[in-house]
């Protein structure tokens, strides 16, 4: 589903990712753990094709880095659900409108399907009574729930979560992680990036440690036979 092959990324002189290779399959849960600046967010941005690799290839489903037009990039992003640490909600729209926007962008559903889909997503995150509130009226935990509802409303194959509990206190953080586990349990693949070991432990899944742009710990290629995986790693 997602494959990185010898991917490097430079920002000017700085090498952010240093020839990393890893893969994840459908329905899997992968957690990247590493310090700030280790390269976690860059991995997510490479998956969404917000940035292009300096070397190597990133493949997401049938989309391969380096060859995507703006239209294809938009199409790729519509197959993903993305959750950011800072929520990235539109403050001039209600909770309902924020989530409905993702449905309209997906363009797969008619007008009559927008309301039921949004209400269903809101029920899943437990915010059905906040649908007419604006983001400014919500707590940080509620905002992240809205972001999660927006990410899942189109039933994407993969959910990318970049430090989803970074701005939350313990109780809200636990609730968000429970919610993400529940969503993953319903079939979506989940890729989570965090600096916190406790979050990685709580969410479960396959853990990959990253430090200074290199994967230092974890099984980068679990679904291949051991010999093939080693060959793959040897080549990276």
């Amino acid at each position: 589903m997602i494959t990185f092959h010898q991917v490097s990324k430079r920002h000017g002189e700085r090498l952010v990712l240093d020839g990393i290779s890893w893969r994840m399959d459908e329905g899997e849960c992968v957690v990247f753990v590493g310090h700030s600046g280790a390269g976690k967010t860059t991995i997510l941005r490479l998956i969404t094709h917000e940035v292009a690799p300096s070397a190597g290839t990133v493949q997401v489903g049938t989309f391969r880095s380096g060859r995507l037009s703006r239209g294809q990039r938009a199409l790729l992003r519509r197959t993903l659900g993305i959750i950011y640490e800072d929520f990235r909600l539109l403050n001039d729209r209600t909770v309902f409108e924020n989530i409905a926007l993702a449905v309209r962008i997906a363009g797969r559903f008619g007008n009559e399907e927008v309301i039921p889909r949004v209400l269903f997503a809101l029920r899943e995150v437990g915010l059905q009574d906040k649908q007419l509130s604006f983001p400014g009226e919500l707590s940080a935990g509620e905002k992240q729930r809205v972001a999660i509802a927006r990410a899942i409303v189109n039933r994407p194959a993969v959910i990318l979560a970049d430090e989803p509990t970074g701005a939350l206190e313990k109780k809200s953080s636990d609730e968000i992680l429970d919610l993400l586990r529940k969503i993953h349990g319903e079939g979506s693949a989940l890729l989570l990036a965090t600096t916190r070991e406790d979050v990685a432990a709580q969410i479960g899944g396959r853990r990959l440690s990253i430090s200074d742009g290199k994967i230092t710990e974890g099984d980068v290629n679990p679904s291949l036979p051991v010999t093939a995986a080693r060959l793959f790693e040897a080549g990276s």
Binding site: A74, L75, L76, L89, R104
Partner: protein, 285 residues
């Protein structure tokens, strides 16, 4: 979905009222200038047409031309140049006498020295200096013709005035069009930049350029439409004031109003597409 685009356009419009108002006022000013010029050009055209209709060519006939020769000539001239009217020697004398008005002056003239003439009301395509001059040269070749007069200098001046108005209208039109594209281009650019977070979020969620751009284009069209209506209102008020205080002038015909509004909307669309094609690449990574 289409309704959604209109809602988004209205949302952007109402959230950036200051920017929208500035753009509308700037556009209204530019379009008013253009509208007043179009109004003047239209009235100048009416005046020119009225004056042009009076343009005629006078052919003085030799005294020895017989009735049959004259009628044959009239038929030929009618086919070639336009409507022909015969003025006999006698009629010419009566007209001349009416113009002079003093019978004592006329008594000193022996006989009737005035020639018979043919007055040609030229076909519209011949109502310009070069065509009239060419026609005059051709007519002088006819054996029945003594002399040809068409007021060359006057026609030349009329043509020059007409051409100057036409050229002026084109220059003003082009200047206003450039100004309008510039104003709208920058307004849309500023609007997109003001809504940069929204555009970025939409882009991250997988919105296509078309999805992001359509509301902005509708917003530009809305601004252009409001400006056009305001400018036409100002031009109408100007025309009414002119009619009341100076001389009666006509307002633009509906076809001109439609063409004016259509051109403005087309230019607004061009400006918006140009602005968005650049700014979306910069904003929506």
């Amino acid at each position: 979905m289409r309704w959604f685009y209109f809602q988004e356009a209205w949302r952007s419009f109402s959230h950036h009222r200051g920017l929208a108002t500035t753009a509308i006022l700037s556009l209204t000013a530019a379009l008013t200038v253009a509208g007043v010029f179009v109004l003047l050009a239209h009235n100048a055209r009416i005046t020119m047409r009225m004056m042009g209709d009076r343009r005629e060519m006078v052919i003085y006939l030799k005294d020895e031309v017989s009735r049959d020769e004259r009628e044959a000539l009239m038929t030929r001239l009618h086919q070639l140049y336009g409507e022909v009217t015969y003025v006999s020697k006698e009629q010419a004398w009566i007209d001349f006498s009416d113009q002079i008005g003093d019978p004592q002056l006329l008594e000193s003239v022996e006989g009737n020295p005035l020639p018979a003439s043919l007055h040609i009301k030229l076909k519209p395509e011949l109502l310009n200096y070069s065509a009239m001059e060419q026609a005059a040269r051709q007519l002088e070749q006819f054996p029945e013709v003594e002399d040809v007069r068409f007021g060359g200098e006057w026609v030349k001046r009329l043509d020059n005035v007409g051409n100057a108005i036409e050229r002026g209208a084109i220059v003003v039109g082009v200047l206003v069009a450039i100004g309008m594209v510039f104003v709208l281009y920058n307004t849309i650019r500023l609007t997109v930049l003001a809504r940069r977070p929204q555009v970025e979020i939409m882009s991250r969620l997988g919105a296509t350029d078309r999805f992001v751009a359509t509301p902005f284009i509708l917003e530009a069209l809305l601004q252009a439409l409001i400006s056009t209506l305001l400018a036409l209102g100002v031009v109408f008020a100007f025309q009414q004031a002119f009619v009341a205080r100076v001389v009666p002038i006509a307002f633009m015909p509906w076809s001109w109003v439609g063409l004016f509004a259509g051109s403005v909307l087309f230019l607004a669309w061009i400006a918006a597409v140009l602005a968005l094609s650049r700014v979306l690449r910069a904003v929506g990574a």
